[in-house]
């Protein structure tokens, strides 16, 4: 009986860890202002990585660099082992912004489809996949509603569905749930973890909320501000599902907060 867990640990150690996202010595300046300084971090494939830090430590810039929206001045960005230019395959990475950014003139289903419209897919296939994702994020029955008819939490779900509809291998999120009330937010957390399990995604997200980071992440990168530097990388080994009120979770949150 006791031999089994041992073997699993041994197997895990012998296998080289694959990283979905890997940054080495990334530096970024905006004019004279140094934003990021020598950032190195890695997100193992299938894991959840949180980047936390006070405001002004370049969290969003870091995420934009990973997404390819902003270019790093120096350093190396590897996405699933491929360095340099990102492949043109849009299905690799999906970006979920801080605001839901739903297009007000589109119905919920059409908004979810938006992610697929860069490719030249058949409209029926597009609609089918969008409906599938809306189903997964609990939005059935709202396909034909317009964004202004939905609550903040539901709009957030639509944004999530739009990110997921491309079946991303990596999901990047920039404080995606910061505008939701606490109850809605923890509901979205559970939702996200469930969907991640189903789609086998790697999730990298930025937050200023330490509790959110601890509840979701396998690994937390703590940044120091002005310029953004890595202060600490912590592996969070708590059992899931994590209740923010549980003693061990609360203890870890306190510990990480002290670092910021």
């Amino acid at each position: 009986m006791s031999a089994l867990p041992m073997r699993i640990v041994a197997a895990a150690e012998s296998e080289p860890v694959r990283h979905a996202v890997e940054l080495a010595h990334v530096t970024k300046r905006f004019g004279k202002l140094a934003v990021l300084d020598d950032i190195s971090l890695a997100a193992p494939t299938g894991s959840v990585l949180a980047i936390v830090g006070a405001s002004g430590c370049g969290k969003s810039t870091l995420l934009n660099i990973i997404a390819g929206l902003v270019k790093a001045d120096s350093g190396n960005v590897r996405i699933d082992g491929v360095a340099g230019k990102r492949s043109d395959d849009t299905r690799v990475i999906s970006y979920m912004f801080q605001e839901d950014r739903l297009l007000p003139w589109r119905t919920i289903a059409a908004n979810a489809e938006f992610g697929l419209e860069a490719e030249s897919l058949n409209a029926n296939v597009r609609r089918e996949r969008a409906l599938e994702m809306l189903h997964m994020t609990g939005l059935e029955g709202f396909e034909n509603a317009y964004p202004h008819e939905l609550s903040g939490g539901m709009r957030s779900r639509v944004a999530l569905a739009r990110s997921l509809v491309v079946k991303p291998y990596i999901l990047l999120m920039d404080e995606p749930f910061s505008k939701l009330d606490p109850q809605m937010r923890s509901q979205m957390h559970a939702e996200l973890l469930r969907v991640r399990e189903q789609l086998k995604m790697t999730v990298v997200f930025v937050t200023h909320d330490v509790e959110e980071a601890i509840v979701l992440a396998d690994r937390v990168v703590v940044l120091r501000p002005r310029p953004g530097r890595v202060r600490d990388v912590l592996t969070i080994d708590l059992a899931r599902p994590r209740n923010p009120l549980a003693a061990d979770v609360a203890e870890t949150v306190r510990h990480v907060r002290a670092l910021i």
Binding site: A67, L69, D88, T90, S94, Y95, F97, E99, R101, L103, P104, W105, R106, T107, F114, G115, E117, A118, G138, G141, F142, A145, Y146, H148, E149, V166
Partner: protein
């Protein structure tokens, strides 16, 4: 999750809208009736060449329709308005997008627009008469000069109001420039274009008559002047009524339905 307001309230909302529609229709009909009564009362004590009665105007209208040139005149005027308007849209829209997307260009040309907007339609009509003589070109030019700045200004405003966040969103999905144009810019500019086009068409229609009174030998404007010269006030009234009916038809038969369809996503205030 369990509350489904949009779906559960759909049916009562629809019937409320229907009864609202009926109420508005009744209001409009009663308004028409009141105006007709006022007209009838006023016509009782005024000579017919100043204010013809309802019956006389009706006879004049029937006569007009029977005369043969009625549809021709109406058609030629409509053609000129539409031609001027389409030209204005074709030229005003790209110019507006250009000025909206290039800040320096927009800043440089801004005064030109203000100047264009202050020039009276009558001045354009006189210029057109000099340049184009008695021809379709005169009226089309005047309509164009009235409509183009309106469309341009609105499209310009619209293209300045494109949300950078939506553009970034499209970029994060690696959309091409053409797709960003079609999927983000176009839907943002469309409401502005529409309100500009609507204004422009209304103005174009009105100034076309002014242009036709001096610069053409057919069309509604020309007939109006002819009737005025011969003191056929009943014919002037008949033409006016025709125009009013046409505009109402256009507004409620075409423009309103298009607007309701295009902007169905907007929150009702």
């Amino acid at each position: 999750m369990s509350s489904v307001p949009a779906v559960s309230s759909a049916m009562p909302a629809r019937s409320a809208r229907m009864s609202g529609f009926v109420r508005v229709a009744l209001q409009r009909l009663s308004l028409v009736a009141v105006l007709l009564v006022l007209w009838w009362l006023a016509a009782q004590r005024v000579p017919a060449f100043i204010l013809p009665g309802i019956g006389k105007t009706w006879d004049a209208l029937r006569e007009l329709v029977a005369s043969g040139t009625f549809t021709e005149d109406l058609g030629i005027t409509l053609y000129r308005v539409v031609a001027g308007f389409v030209l204005a849209a074709l030229i005003g829209t790209p110019l507006g997008i250009l000025l909206g997307s290039n800040r320096r260009l927009g800043h440089y040309f801004e005064p030109v627009l203000s100047v264009l907007n202050t020039v009276s339609a009558a001045i354009w009509a006189i210029f057109a008469l000099i340049w184009f003589g008695i021809s379709n070109g005169t009226t089309i030019f005047v309509v164009f000069m009235e409509a183009m700045p309106l469309i341009l200004t609105n499209v310009w405003q619209g293209s300045q109001s494109v949300n950078a966040e939506y553009v970034e969103l499209a970029r994060s999905f690696q959309m091409s420039r053409a797709k960003v144009m079609a999927k983000i810019y176009l839907p943002t500019v469309l409401p502005y274009f529409f309100s500009g086009a609507r204004l422009a068409f209304g103005f174009g229609w009105r100034v076309s008559l002014v242009a036709e009174t001096i610069g053409s030998s057919n069309g509604v404007g020309y007939r109006l002047r002819q009737a005025a010269d011969l003191v056929q006030t009943d014919q002037v009234f008949a033409w006016t009524l025709t125009l009013i009916c046409l505009m109402v038809l256009l507004e409620y038969g075409i423009l309103k339905p298009i607007e309701n369809y295009l902007f169905r996503w907007k929150r009702r205030v």
